[in-house]
């Protein structure tokens, strides 16, 4: 049992007041470790809210630096941060919000060779990546290691998210199977995205992490939440584990991690750190 300081009791008082969270839930948060993959549109709000919530250890991985076109939606980064590594910029804001937590930064490009080592020890992972190969890599690595994660995606005026608890609920591959051909994929850089929907989606992902850690409520498992901001229509599409799933099904064809071809997203600028 943690001995909360007066300052912590005050800082987290609005959590502690919640019957379903309380001192016990806050203690779980302070002892939890969450990894955020991508310090961009989804990773920014997730990182700030998880830091504010007092998630004790937050890892954040991204090999990119801040560009001026990021600032319309990637709210952890300020104009003064242009040219700075995204993870350093995000870590600075996270620590400014809450010096109580530990932030681990990874200036790396997540790939088959490093993902298992990086995600080891984390309780929950937030996928805020911009490309499908990495989304599938995160899914497969989480299935293999049993770490739950939140999938998230945004494009134009739309967003989607689902939570995956390996071995219990439908995984990303149950429904989406494999990355679409790179030439078919519109990226935010090509198709555009309404900035604020990054916040809508990223905060849902942060909420799922907080719910998983504290055990509050029911996770967004076996369902894909989608929204269209133009009409503000939300839908939850029921999903189920598929026996035919290539990674979590009865006869999996994917038994180890591999790097898929990169999407056009990745061709815009070279990753800062050398890809694996």
């Amino acid at each position: 049992m943690i001995d909360f300081t007066e300052e912590q009791l005050e800082r987290y008082s609005r959590h502690i007041l919640l019957d379903d969270v309380g001192v016990d839930g806050q203690e779980k948060l302070l002892q939890a470790k969450v990894l955020i993959v991508g310090a961009g549109g989804l990773g920014s709000p997730a990182a700030l809210y998880l830091a504010a919530a007092g998630v004790g250890t937050i890892g954040i991985i991204d090999s990119d630096s801040v560009e001026i076109s990021n600032l319309q939606r990637q709210i952890a980064h300020f104009t003064k941060d242009i040219g700075v590594f995204k993870v350093d910029s995000a870590a600075e804001k996270m620590q400014a919000i809450n010096p109580d937590i530990t932030v681990r930064t990874y200036k790396e490009y997540l790939c088959a060779a490093n993902i298992t080592k990086i995600i080891a020890g984390y309780d929950f992972i937030i996928d805020g990546t911009d490309n499908f190969p990495t989304k599938f890599l995160v899914n497969d690595a989480c299935i293999f290691t049993g770490i739950p994660f939140s999938h998230g995606g945004i494009l134009r005026f739309n967003g989607q998210t689902m939570t995956v608890v390996p071995g219990e609920s439908a995984c990303y591959r149950c429904s989406f199977r494999e990355a679409p051909p790179p030439d078919a994929v519109p990226s935010c850089a090509q198709a555009g995205v309404l900035g604020a929907i990054a916040g809508m989606l990223g905060t849902i992902q942060a909420t799922e992490a907080l719910k998983y850690i504290t055990g509050v409520g029911e996770l967004l498992t076996n369902g894909l939440l989608t929204f269209d901001a133009r009409t503000l229509t939300f839908r939850k599409i029921n999903l189920a584990r598929q026996k035919s799933c290539p990674v979590c099904g009865e006869e999996p064809s994917i038994t180890h991690l591999v790097d898929a071809e990169q999407s056009v997203c990745e061709l815009k600028s070279e990753p800062v750190a050398a890809p694996c």
Binding site: G41, G43, G159, S175, R177, A184, V185, S187, C188, L224
Partner: protein, 70 residues
């Protein structure tokens, strides 16, 4: 025939409609960017032409959505 597409009731006037045709009718521009679920089961793209719809079928188009970081 009456089917449900993305949660909404749809009346199809054609007698025989397979999933390839349904994607056309629904004006899905990039079928590669959509995963199809029929009555809760994933359908492989190569099986679209041989998958014919019947009254009461529930179809979901799940759109691939990346975005996020960059």
């Amino acid at each position: 025939m009456q089917i449900t597409v993305n949660g909404e009731a749809n009346e199809l006037h054609e007698a025989e409609v397979n999933l390839s045709k349904l994607l056309e009718i629904r004006r899905v521009e990039s079928p590669e960017m959509v995963a199809v679920q029929l009555n809760g089961e994933f359908v492989d793209m190569e099986n679209y032409p041989s998958t014919f719809l019947k009254t009461g079928d529930d179809i979901e188009f799940l759109y691939f959505m990346g975005g996020g970081s960059r």
